[in-house]
Structures are given as C-alpha cells and as structure tokens.
Symmetry: C2
Subunit: 425 residues, 2 copies
Amino acid sequence: MRDFLPADKARRERVLAVIRDRYRAHGFDEIETPVMEEYSRLHAGIGGDNEKLAYNVLKRGLDPEALRAAADDQSQLTDLGLRYDLTVPLARFYATNRGQLPAVFRAIQIAPVWRAERPQKGRYRQFVQCDIDIIGDASARAEAELAVATLDTLEALGLEGGSIRINDRRALDWMLDSFGFTADERPGVLITIDKLDKIGPHGVVAELRERGATAPAVDALEAFLTRPMTLEYNPYGERQIRKLLPPDAPDEIVSHLVGIGEAVAASRAGGDGDGDGIDIPLVFDPFLVRGMGYYTGTIFELAHPSVDYSLGGGGRYDGMIGRFLGQDVPAVGFSIGFERLVDLIEAADGDGPSAVVLVHDRDVPTGELLALKAALIAQGSRVRLEQRTKNLKALLERAASDGYTAFATVSAGTVPAGLEVKPLA
Amino acid sequence: MRDFLPADKARRERVLAVIRDRYRAHGFDEIETPVMEEYSRLHAGIGGDNEKLAYNVLKRGLDPEALRAAADDQSQLTDLGLRYDLTVPLARFYATNRGQLPAVFRAIQIAPVWRAERPQKGRYRQFVQCDIDIIGDASARAEAELAVATLDTLEALGLEGGSIRINDRRALDWMLDSFGFTADERPGVLITIDKLDKIGPHGVVAELRERGATAPAVDALEAFLTRPMTLEYNPYGERQIRKLLPPDAPDEIVSHLVGIGEAVAASRAGGDGDGDGIDIPLVFDPFLVRGMGYYTGTIFELAHPSVDYSLGGGGRYDGMIGRFLGQDVPAVGFSIGFERLVDLIEAADGDGPSAVVLVHDRDVPTGELLALKAALIAQGSRVRLEQRTKNLKALLERAASDGYTAFATVSAGTVPAGLEVKPLA
C-alpha cells in the first residue's frame, strides 16, 4: 500500500478523468458500491483465488466467550470484508438495484480493490481497477461496444496502436474436446495452455505429458500446434478464425466472434460493417485462456506495443448475475489495469491552466500577497505562495516538478510596480 | 453504507471535480494515503471518540492457539484498520514524506472514511470528506488561505452567501479561566457551552450549576452571557472581537484573529487589507467550541443560509504532527462535509456535452447502429443505445433522468436517410 505524493496523484487523477470521460461518451454510467461487502458474498466461490486474498473486517462487540468459540472457525469473527475485485460487487449491485436500471445496463466502476498479496515488485495490496460491464445483452454488440470504448480510451490517453486479443471459452472447450481431453482434465490442461506464450508449444506438450494427460489428446494437440501454416496476411474475420481453429468449429461460436469484428469495424471505420475487408485492432488467439473460472464465452486481453504485458482484459460471464439474482442475465465486462496503465502516461501537465509560484520576501504584508494571489486565481491561474529561501533555484525546480509553469518574485512595494510573471525553465 | 446509482454518482463526481479544481487553483496539492492504516496509529489517542468507531481488519494467518490467546486482548487480532478521518493519516503521511514536500505544504485529501456509527438518518458508515490542510505555517495567513479557498469553492458550486464562524481555543480557555473555572473542569464546561445554540444562555447556566461547576465562575459566565449589548452594525475586526469578549483579552490571540480577517479581506476585495472597513464572510463567535480535543488555536465552522447545520469546519492543531514526527510543526485544516454539501447541489447536468439516446428497432443491423454511435461520439456527444420498447415515453423519461438531453429513433434504412436528433422534453 502506497502514499501518493502530489505529482503522482495529479497524474492519476488526470488519467482517471480521461477514462471516465471516454467511457461516459460511449454511453456507460458510473456507479459506486461500498468498499466493504458482506463476508458471505465475498466468499461465495465466484472470486476464485482472490477469495483467499480478501481482507476481512473484525466483527464489533465480540466478547471473550465468542472469541474462544471462534478459535476453530474464523468466519465467526468477521461479517464484512474489503472487496478484492469489482465484479462480485457489481453482480450484488445489479441484483439489489435492478428495478432502477435500464434494460441493458452499461456500468462504469473506477475504484480501489484490496488483496493481501505477498509484497513483490509491481504488485500492490491496494490498487485501482477501471471496469466497464454490459449487463442484459447477449449479442456480439455488447463485446463490440466494450472493445471500441476501451480502444478509444487508450487512444485518448495518447496510447495509439493498442489491440485486443480475443477468444471464446466455448471454442477452447470444443477444441480440447475434439482433441480428446476429458471434461475432468480440461481445467488442468487450460492452466498449462495458458503458459503457451512463455514456454512455447514444446513446453506445453512436455508439461501435459508429465502431468499424465490423455496421451492421444496430447498427440493431437501437438500435431495441431506444430502444423505447417502459410504466413499470408489475413485480417480479422471468419477466414482468419476458421484457419486458426481445428476444422469444423461450431458455427454458433465462430459467428459470435465474427459479429464482434463486424461491429468493431463499423464503429472504427464508420464503414459498412464488413469486418473481413478492413483492418481492425482485434486479434483472434485460439489459445488465449484468462484465469477466472466464471467466464462462459468471449474472453479478451488488451495489448499495447510499448509493453509486453497485458493492460487489461475481461470476458463474458453469463452465469454470475444469476447467482445473486436467481435468474440468469447475460453479462460481459472489460477491466483496465489502472496501475499498469498510469505508468505509461507522460507526467506532462502542459494542457492545464497556467500555474504560478509567487516567491515572496518575508516582509511582504500578508494582505498584499493574498490580494495578488486572488487576482491571479481570478484570471484562471493556479497559485502557490512560497517564501523566498537562499536557494531560489532549488525552490523553483521543486515547483516545476510539482507542475508549476511560471513564477514571479514579490518584494515589499511590488504591488504598486506591477507583477512580472516569468516562465519556469 | 450505500450504493450510488448513475444519477447520484454523476452528481457526486461533478461536485468533486469542482472542489478539486478550486482547491488546486488556490495552490493546494492533492495527495492520497492508503485506506488502511496501522492499528497502533489509529488508536494513539488523537482520534478522540472516533477511535472507538474504527473498523479493524482481522490479521491474516491466525491459528486457533493465537485466537484463544487473543480472547482477552482483541488488539492481538488486528494490525490494520480503516481510517475514521483524514487528519490522522495526513499527520502520518507528513512524517513519512516530509523530505519530498515543500516547506509550507498545502494538502488536499478527497476520500472516504469509515465509522461504525449506529444507523440513523443522515449518518453513514462510509462517507467522503474533503480536507485541505496547511502544514508549516503558524501565521494567520494559513487560516486566511483556507477560509478563502473554502468560500471560493462553495461559490463555484453555486452556493453564494456562505460564511465562516471563527473562534480560538486559546480565547475560550482564557475566558473560562478569567471567569474562575479551574483547568480540570474546563473540558466539561466546554461540552456544556457547545450546546449554547440549542439550549440558550439559561440552559447552559442551569446545566453547569447542576453539574456542580465552581459557583462564582458560573455566576460570572451568566453575567457575561446576559450583559446588555447595543445592537449596532459592527463588521469583523478588532472592535467586534474585543466587544464580544470579556475586557482585556490577550493581544496575541486578538491580533491573530484580526490578522485572519485582514488577509481574507485583501483576498476577497482585492483591497488594502484593512479588515475593519469592509464586509467579509467571517463571523467571530466567542462560544464556538468544536468537538475534537486536538485543536490548539483557531477553530472554524462553515455555515450557509440554506441550512441550519454546519457544512464543515476545522481548526489549528499545532501539536499533532509532533506526535508522529517527534518535532512540532504548525498545522491547520478545514474539512468540508461532502455528504451534506452534495445534497444541496442541483442535479442539473445542463453544462455537460449533448447526450443522445439512439432508440433503435430490433432489426437494425448492429454495424449500422455502432457506426451511428461512433459518428455522434466523434462529434462530442455522449451516446446510449436503447432497443425500442412498447412504452417509448417511459424509456425516454428514464433516459432524461439519467442525464440524457436528446434522442433519435433508428429504423432499418435510417442511415441512408439521415438521423433526426430531437431534444428530450
């Protein structure tokens, strides 16, 4: 958990304002849920491994008797916990407030979550997630709206050239089935396949053999992974998808993936919606897995050429809302990893209003100083007072690093003579 | 703890953006601290009654043995807690990061805090505070900068006519001493005096007699409270302050209060800093108390004619930073009660960009719809897609209540014919 000093905090708020603005433009509405949720909701089996990382809040008013009784069942000590993601709270929010929401609800959530991770570089115990979700639309349009809003947001932040890797959990499942993996062993096989980027096809095959997966299925996977392929250019669309899957992939899955591409193409090019003909920043990856167990269909991952890790991801989780509502409602979401993103954004404050440091001698009357400050604020500036120190250069350098762009020196008598505002180097 | 639906959340974010913008213009810098602080810091005696209301987080990895051992000392169960205010975290932040901060540090904190209050109307267990603090300036200028920034912010939110009640804890202490109350009984006397607005002078005197306070001191207080006063107009300044205090109030205290007024006057009028001559929205109230024990000098309370409760307050707490740093540093802060404020702000979204609902028939191709949406977004609009329902009126009313300002209907074939965007009633 970290403190954020002024320069960092200002950059974070600037990036959040852009994200909020773009998501809102795309018709998403921001909501907010309490930081604490009921313990039983946070531990309903939906959160996967994150459930184990939850911070739990001590019940109030426990007497020594109750404490001794809880020694062998710690869940008695707690009734609330800090959320570890924004998806479980969204499902609970939707179940609570459904009557007041539109038929298709497009939600923005921008908020911190907490996980008791072991301390390591780039992992924080409190971090911000930026989620958009569409609840109530089972069509490919929902995935397309999420993808377009996400790419537009990335571009508004100055990160051109982002792309979205896409797959469908049903395609993965069908493919593993067609190779001959049993339903029981598929979750374990997926964990190994998820390492394909890191250990390559031979590494995956070796690990599966070592783990004793069904041998003919591993052979079939190996043959597929190492099949000869012509390296021809092939934009996102049905031809590309069918070429990257084993033969005879189910039409329903392929057409959903194709539909997403067509809708993205229509949005991006303002064109005719023929996804096969033009370039769109979607990349079909039949071996994209994504960790969470609750995905039921499309899965995404956001990539940018400047980094070799994912900037976010998401997917369709049509089963989850039903866990809270008792009635299935389709849902799909995309989460930007804010902490990773914010590090890529330039610290530049250049487009803000002018920000002036008034460096004053000790003997300038307070009234004069505050009158100068008020006049500059009224002109639209941001103004900080600083009493002059011996090392003026150091003082101005600090002000520049805090985002100030100009300074003026004030001595007794400056006011009648007029203020000279100079740019900070 | 509450969920915030889209209309409420949008209003909250709009108000927060104004507050952040105004505070930044006045030279304050936003910081952020983690939601959880160490248990020992939250329970160091600084937080007053709020310490008892803290939510504590269960330690991880406790075994049954440790739990049984903790039965009679619950502090062993917890090492972190949720902050109950922003002042204790600020003092900790300043002690941690002092080397990277300017000599006079003007902090903004806009963040939620948690208190396990009994549920009652208008009290929440999670609520947002907006604090500004100036650390490192013992002069009246610090109080003036806080007051001016607060009043400017209130006005930027459309709440003209706010005012700040002001007093000094040292003046209270001197006054009670001069009446003859002993040092030991003064804290209890202050609790009673704090009710002056509610129970009046006679109520205060009666309660003090009942509690057995030093009788001649109560007599002196009664004589002072009921003394004859000429009701002449008297703007904030030395004359007003001396008139409202018993005779011979210490010059040091009076001149600090006068200095605040002069600096506020210079800021507000751009004038000559003579606080005695012009109207400023400061009101000296010699019986203003404020609850927290850590105040050492000036205390404030923010009032607005539209409500009979305070919208915020603050004061000088020169002793607190030293508790964390081991070296005294002057500090003064002002906190806006965001939850009370936000209820006073109009829900109007009028100054936002145009927001268009595209009401479409079921059979409009997704590509056409998303192309229309993209074109409107590119023109600067906010756009929501809504599939047409039988009750179009209800659909449009909901959209209007969500902040949408215009709509267009889309049927198959609309695209070639062109879109007609109409205002929402």
